[in-house]
């Protein structure tokens, strides 16, 4: 009997992230359109796009291999599993112990590995340029993420996300410089990893500025739909991660009744909306940077996260 509760939460959670992911993307697009005084597409446009793509035929490049056809499913699966392990509205996830925060990041790395390979499979220069830039971005973003995890883990004494969330909810956190640095670094990494402005522009098809779009250039039909959904899921995942670690209020603790869970879900949707508005505002206000400036941007994130870890040792307040 005691299995059913966590299992149900896990199931609801997995469906919820999948269902909300396109909505978040659509919401950000809608807010951006309103900010520049355009009408913009409706919020549910991403769902329509996905449906449209699913119904279309797949045009496969002649030089593509089996890897090209398998990769979308693996990318999606890696991202979905990672998203399923991040608490959104309740911490009592059934399988949260099967992978800690480091493993979640590495899972996203696995998805990226296949995405980069898929970009190179057809043998066009656009695919290559996208993959090459993607791995350059990842080579800085991933260590920054690991360092952020270090800060959190040293504070909370655990790399388990539910324990970290529980620690952040408790009263003995206080304001810490490390946390501020980690938050800023995490946001910067999230921007880069999700191919958002100013690192990459999801709306562009201008050859030399694109990274993510260049990698998936050869995809069409249902494959493209799966990849798009994985991308939207990843955006949601990062927002959930930031929400879970830095604004965990409202999240339902283990063994809570239905009402806290409902409240948690409402709070979660609220957090997503706030994050969407902030992101849209930020992206409207800033221009995309040159590719080789990205290294400075992410290098700064990396340095801030290292600084955060080192400050932990110097600052007052004991480590666990």
């Amino acid at each position: 009997m005691e299995l059913i509760g966590p299992l149900a939460i896990q199931g609801v959670h997995m469906t919820l992230v999948l269902a909300l992911a396109p909505l978040l993307t659509g919401f950000v697009r809608a807010v951006k359109a309103r900010l520049v005084r355009r009408q913009g597409p409706p919020v549910i446009q991403p769902y329509r796009d996905l449906w449209r793509l699913m119904r279309k035929e797949v045009v496969l490049a002649e030089s593509s291999s089996w890897l090209f056809r398998v990769a979308p499913y693996l990318i999606f699966a890696g991202t979905w599993v990672a998203a399923a392990l991040i608490p959104t509205f309740a911490t009592g996830l059934m399988f949260s112990w099967s992978a800690d925060l480091i493993a979640i990041i590495a899972l996203l790395g696995s998805a990226r590995f296949f995405l980069a390979l898929a970009g190179m499979d057809v043998g066009t220069s656009f695919g290559g340029i996208g993959s090459s830039r993607e791995v350059m971005i990842a080579s800085l973003a991933e260590p920054a993420l690991i360092m952020i995890v270090f800060s959190l883990a040293l504070l909370a004494g655990s790399t388990q996300l539910s324990t970290i969330a529980g620690y952040m909810l408790s009263s003995n956190v206080g304001l810490r410089v490390t946390l501020a640095l980690s938050l800023v670094a995490l946001i910067m990494v999230a921007i880069a990893e999700n191919a958002r402005i100013p690192v990459d522009n999801p709306a562009t098809h201008l050859e030399l500025t694109m990274v993510h779009e260049a990698m998936v250039l050869e995809y069409s039909g249902r494959h493209l739909a799966v990849i798009e959904l994985a991308g939207q899921l990843q955006l949601l995942l990062y927002v959930s991660l930031i929400a879970c670690v830095f604004v965990p209020w409202g999240i339902a603790p283990v063994g809570a009744g239905p009402l806290p869970h409902l409240l948690g879900a409402v709070a979660y949707v609220g957090k997503l909306a706030v994050a969407g508005v902030i992101m849209a505002g930020f992206e409207t206000a800033i221009a995309k940077m040159r590719v080789f400036r990205v290294s400075a941007f992410l290098g700064a994130a990396f340095m801030m996260s290292i600084l955060g870890v080192l400050l932990l040792f110097v600052s007052r307040g004991g480590l666990r």
Partner: protein, 671 residues
């Protein structure tokens, strides 16, 4: 009969294969006898070592053979640490022999390979089994010489002779350092047996000297920066199954030598030792992967990447030293397990990747990635196995490379409990470097697989390549499946390593087999846990669900068409991304400063008929600042001393007399 005797007989049997390989029999028979014999012997030895490690057999008694120094004899001993490394050695050796059965067919001159091969395998076994300095060094030198013979097997190819020369010098240097280290350990009494060394501990200064010498000796064999220069030259020069052995196994024997000396023979460590080991490990990991990214020769890329993995192993060993010196045996056990697990993992995937590179080499005659491409269609099975290796070595879940790196991270997270402030601050920084090298490793292997196997064929050789033979494929898939198994069931490996860890680190990790759902829990469930099996199941189920849903609801129509490429596809395969263009962003970001990478672009003015040129120049700062001046100095001194070769007999006699007088004077003043 105890297992140590059996293992010694195995080594003897391997040595007995040497004259057989020299006998005048046909190339085919020679191949079957040498590789088939090595396969059987090493597979048996591997089974024996596993049984010994799991405590199923008893082989702890010493064996003293009446060889070597008369008052010591040749001593051999089999403890848990030796058994753990023997598993790595013999597993790699057996699989390389299996691979050699097929791959050896492409060998133009088998007599240059076959005699050295079993001697090399036997020597590696003997190094691990040896229990006195004398037989250890003899076996070590045999290992170096046999592998040197294999490195220069194709000595007429460009660069091979140079590689062999550099290797020989560095190997002599390593042996000299180890000799001095053992001499210090043995003390003035000449206690060369390991047992005797353990009984009298050296004082702090001597111990520090031993540490430095062990780093110089074992580190140069393992490929620790800045002693790694021979490795990327020599490993790729050998035939591919030997490259696999040198990278996957021989470097591990060097790690064994380091662990044996520093964790076992020299006694309790001091806290600052770990600073040296950690810094060297971090520098090795980062420089190794960065250099690997800059390569476009597939085997050289893999060799440089070995340097990175040695760095990761030494980071684990450094952490173990730090925790052991701070008397946190449980934490030392975690770090040591991570290091030993990585030793095992790296022997699996690096051998696998070298096998793959060898298969590509024999199918196309090319090692240069810029002249390959599209091999996933011509060699689908090799491509699949190589992909598994790339995925595992990039430390991505759910394969094995991730587990050992995850455990290293968990050990790093224990750094606040260390006393020394220098270590408290150094360890997280090392963690940052480790994370950076892990991410760069993934980039490196996206490049290696993407350029070699994906895209379109760049040359005719790549376009007409044939799938490799069954033996090679069997060897590759054996290691690929072991990578998966060790990744999803890491608990069993950790438990198997426990006796070796207890012996070296003084503590032990919690037993993993009893954990629920076969998770691994390094310290406590609330702190961290990982379950590769569940991750694999989740990913497969999600991918399956997604594929099912897509096939249920989406259109199934597929049309083949030319690549889209933004509307302007170019039919020539030369327009694809190349290995060096793939690495360009990372080269700009990291290598401009560290490796002095510079690009020169020469575009002719309109109307000029000469071709445009693009050149990348990469420096090796270590070679240029350390080795080139040393070589120049030796050359200069040799030129000056050259005069001494052409003296008269009277002058020579005078010189001998003067030398004798000088020595006697020194002796008189000394005492």
């Amino acid at each position: 009969m105890n297992s140590l005797a059996t293992l010694l007989i195995c080594a003897g049997a391997l040595l007995a294969l040497v004259p057989t390989a020299l006998a005048p029999i046909g190339a085919r028979a020679g191949r079957w006898i040498t590789y088939g014999g090595s396969l059987l012997v090493c597979a048996f030895a591997c089974a024996m070592s596993i049984a010994q490690l799991l405590g199923l057999t008893d082989g702890t008694a010493d064996i003293i053979l009446p060889l070597g120094l008369p008052w010591i004899g040749a001593r051999f001993h089999l403890d848990a640490l030796a058994a753990a490394f023997l598993v790595v050695v013999n597993l790699g050796a057996a699989t390389a022999s299996l691979y050699g059965l097929g791959y050896g067919r492409h060998e133009a001159d088998p007599r240059r390979v076959l005699p050295f091969y079993p001697a090399f395998l036997a020597a590696m076994n003997l190094v691990v089994l040896a229990a006195d300095a004398f037989s250890f060094l003899i076996a070590w030198e045999l290992m170096s010489l046999a592998s040197w013979g294999l490195v220069i097997a194709h000595h007429r190819q460009a660069g091979v002779a140079h590689a062999g020369y550099v290797y020989l010098i560095m190997a002599s240097f390593a042996a000299l350092s180890l000799l001095l280290a053992f001499a210090l350990l043995a003390g003035p009494g000449g206690a060369y047996a390991f047992d005797a060394m353990r009984t009298h501990r050296p004082d702090a200064a001597t111990a520090a000297f031993v540490l430095v010498l062990a780093i110089l000796g074992a580190g140069s064999k393992a490929g620790l920066v800045p002693l790694h220069v021979w490795l990327p030259l020599a490993h790729p020069a050998a035939p591919s199954h030997v490259s696999a052995l040198m990278s996957g196994v021989m470097t591990k024997v060097a790690v064994y030598a380091f662990v044996r000396i520093v964790f076992d023979l020299v006694g309790p460590p001091l806290w600052w030792w770990s600073i040296v080991v950690l810094s060297l490990g971090a520098a090795t990991a980062f420089l190794g992967v960065l250099q690997a990214l800059m390569q476009h020769d597939l085997k050289r890329l893999l060799a440089y990447h070995t340097v990175e993995n040695i760095g990761i192993i030494f980071i684990g060993l450094g952490l173990a030293l730090a925790f052991k010196a701070a008397h946190m045996e449980w934490a030392a056990a975690l770090a040591m397990t991570a290091a030993l697990f990585h030793v095992f993992n790296h022997s699996l995937f690096k051998s696998l990747l070298f096998f793959g590179a060898g298969a590509v080499d024999s199918a196309t005659g090319e090692r240069d990635m810029e002249r390959l491409g599209g091999l996933i269609r011509r060699m689908p099975q090799t491509a699949l196995a190589f992909l598994v290796g790339c995925f595992a070595i990039s430390a991505l879940p759910p394969l094995n490379g991730f587990v050992s790196e995850w455990m290293t991270f968990q050990a790093i997270l224990l750094s606040p409990s260390l006393d020394a402030w220098a270590l408290k601050l150094l360890v997280p920084t090392v963690g940052a470097v480790l994370a950076l090298s892990a991410a760069l490793a993934a980039a490196c292997f996206v490049k290696a697989f993407g350029i070699t196997f994906l895209g379109r064929a760049r040359t005719l050789a790549a376009e007409t390549a044939q799938e490799t033979d069954g033996f090679s494929l069997a060897a590759m898939f054996l290691f690929a499946s072991l990578c998966l198994l060790a990744g999803v069931l890491p608990g069993f490996v950790i438990d198997a390593l426990a006796p070796a860890v207890r012996m070296t680190a003084g503590g032990q990790m919690p037993t993993q087999a009893s954990q629920a759902w076969l998770s691994i829990v390094p310290i406590a469930q609330s702190r961290s846990s990982y379950n590769g099996l569940l991750v694999l199941v989740f990913v497969s189920v999600s991918a399956g669900l997604c594929a099912m849903a897509i096939h249920q609801f989406a259109s199934r129509a597929v049309r083949r068409a030319p690549a889209w490429d933004c509307g302007a596809p170019d039919p020539s395969p030369i327009t694809q991304y190349t290995a060096s263009s793939f690495a360009q962003p990372i080269r700009r970001v990291f290598a401009t400063l560290l490796l002095g990478a510079a690009e020169t672009v020469d575009i002719p003015a309109p109307g000029e008929m000469r071709p445009a040129r693009f050149e990348v120049l990469i420096h090796d700062p270590i070679w240029e600042t350390l080795y080139a001046p040393a070589a120049a100095l030796v050359g200069y001194a040799a030129d000056r001393l050259n005069k001494l070769q052409f003296l008269t007999i009277r002058l020579y006699l005078t010189l001998v007399f003067l030398a004798l007088v000088g020595l006697l004077l020194v002796l008189a003043l000394w005492s």
